[in-house]
């Protein structure tokens, strides 16, 4: 049986890859937070005489069309993209957990109506809603985080609901009810904490998704506002530099997004597998 179970999983050296992912995320956070300051780099200082300089000792990743240091912009942009990813994911998880837990716990008609509403949202492409709301509230970073969070809670809501459906039949819920705990207390103090494994795993995937949303919106010119760098913004401006042959403006931000999104997905995958076999992440 365990042989069969092992067969459904790709035999990647899963743990090694998950640790690599975790190390990359840590490195990215530390580098983006501290390096611009430690290396005395400026993301805004222009030097038009030095525009489109290829990578050198003075500018490790070269300069852009205005002569700004690309490494500095990459690191400062990383701060924005990583924080948008983290906060938007937190917003999505808060909404999704509460929504899914209430639907799953009450069941019946309430559940049917709430989940039908999720079906409605799922019929409209997420990117459409995202662009629509981003067009309405374009401007502040906080609004961007809220908009991304508000359009990505559907998946978490479904997962948490599924988990709560089985958890609410457990004895500890019965016990809590018998000592007179209120529904709200049972849901948020007893049931939701027991769905913690699912919630943590989903959060990890949601950070990856939210980062992709931020970069896609910024790439489309409707996310993070222009002078402020973000990984999506860097790629957006790099697209018009395509014919200048400035590969150093296209490859590093793309690789940064890909590697970081991959790292979060690897981590999530590892947590999920661990939960399935009861080894890690519970």
């Amino acid at each position: 049986m365990s042989d069969d179970e092992a067969a459904t999983r790709p035999r990647l050296p899963v743990t090694t890859i998950a640790w690599t992912g975790l190390a990359w995320i840590g490195l990215a956070i530390v580098a983006c937070a501290l390096a611009p300051w430690a290396l005395h780099l400026s993301a805004t200082a222009t030097d038009v005489a030095n525009a489109y300089a290829s990578p050198s000792l003075a500018h490790w990743l070269g300069t852009d069309g205005l002569g700004r240091d690309e490494l500095a912009r990459l690191l400062v942009g990383g701060r924005i993209t990583l924080s948008v990813g983290a906060i938007a994911a937190a917003v999505a998880m808060l909404i999704g957990t509460a929504y899914g837990a209430i639907a799953g716990y009450y069941g019946g008609i309430a559940d049917a109506i709430l989940m039908r509403l999720v079906d409605v949202f799922l019929s409209v492409p997420t990117l459409f809603l995202l662009l629509f709301l981003a067009a309405m509230f374009h401007g502040s970073l906080i609004a961007l985080m809220l908009v991304i969070g508000a359009t990505s809670w559907l998946g978490p809501a479904r997962l948490v609901r599924g988990e709560v459906l089985s958890l609410k039949e457990r004895l500890f819920v019965e016990a809590a009810r018998s000592v007179g705990a209120s529904d709200a207390r049972i849901i948020f103090r007893h049931v939701v904490p027991n769905a913690g494994g699912t919630i943590i795993t989903t959060t990890t995937f949601m950070v990856a998704t939210a980062m992709l949303s931020e970069t896609a919106l910024s790439f489309l010119g409707i996310g993070v506002r222009a002078p402020m760098p973000s990984w999506g913004n860097l790629l957006s401006s790099a697209q018009s530099d395509l014919f200048a042959g400035a590969w150093w403006l296209i490859v590093p931000p793309g690789l940064a997004i890909l590697a970081t999104v991959c790292a979060f997905n690897f981590l999530g995958d590892w947590l999920r597998e661990g939960r399935d076999t009861g080894v890690a992440g519970t």
């Binding site: 981003a134 896609a216 793309g254």
Partner: protein, 317 residues
Amino acid sequence: MTNYILRRLFFAVPTLLGVAVLAFVLIHIAPGGPVAALVGDRGTPAQIAQVTHSLGLDKPLHEQFFAWIGALAHGDLGFSYVRQSPVAALIAERLPATLLLMGFALLISIAIAIPLGVVQAARQRTRFDRIASLAVFIAWSMPTFWFGTLLIALFAVTLGWSPVGGLQTIDTTAFDWPSRLAHLVLPAATLAIVSIAGWSRYVRGSMIEQLREDYARTAVAKGLGPSTVLFKHVLRNALIPFITLLGSSLPGLFGGAVITESIFAYPGMGQLFWQAALDRDYATLLGMTVITGVLVILGNLLADLAYGIVDPRVRYE
């Protein structure tokens, strides 16, 4: 069977209605409310007065809703004052190009994802399976707009094998198939990358599950060759749930088309949606949201029906 179809149709109605309500709510929360939504930020006072009057915006909200639904049912998706055109006409003009792009992307995805998943399942736990799994994981995490940019940089700018973007070469006015196809390859590949990753993973898992079934073991035991078992027995069953997956991937394809079409300057629905978002053209955004919602619901309905036909175990009562 008729019963099953009717039940499915019946269940699609509340979802359709929900999409209409969602769009109605979006109009009312748009800055400036429905008037600005229909006229745009650049409406003249005369236009604003005219629209307010003709829409009866002083009437109660529920009356406004039914009037709007009624117009919607007659195919009236509103008027874009920003683009000076009925929204339905804008969509009709651009929908075919997007459907062509999506169809081409679907073909590419199926042609790559199914064989890849099958081979991975047949050679599970080999070096090939591991490397393919890792590649699929990376493709799954790929920002599509970056992938598209790289394709342009490599195939269009550096090698010059492909046009950079557009629908077809400008100096041909007629419908020019070779030129249309040449302009489709890179955008379709960009749009397909995520579905290739997701689907091949799905096919692999589904194949492995079916390979463990008794009928597969029986087929092997009676001496059938591996490819006969794999393709004639197992693949057929493994592909049944794939139909549902096709239906549920429609919203993602429409969303992906926004990014793909804007990178490649491909004049379809996605590009229109993007430009409308940049212009704050809420009327166009709303009309397209409603139409896409309807198309997605119909697509899921078709997938459900096809599932019922292909899998006789689905009961129709």
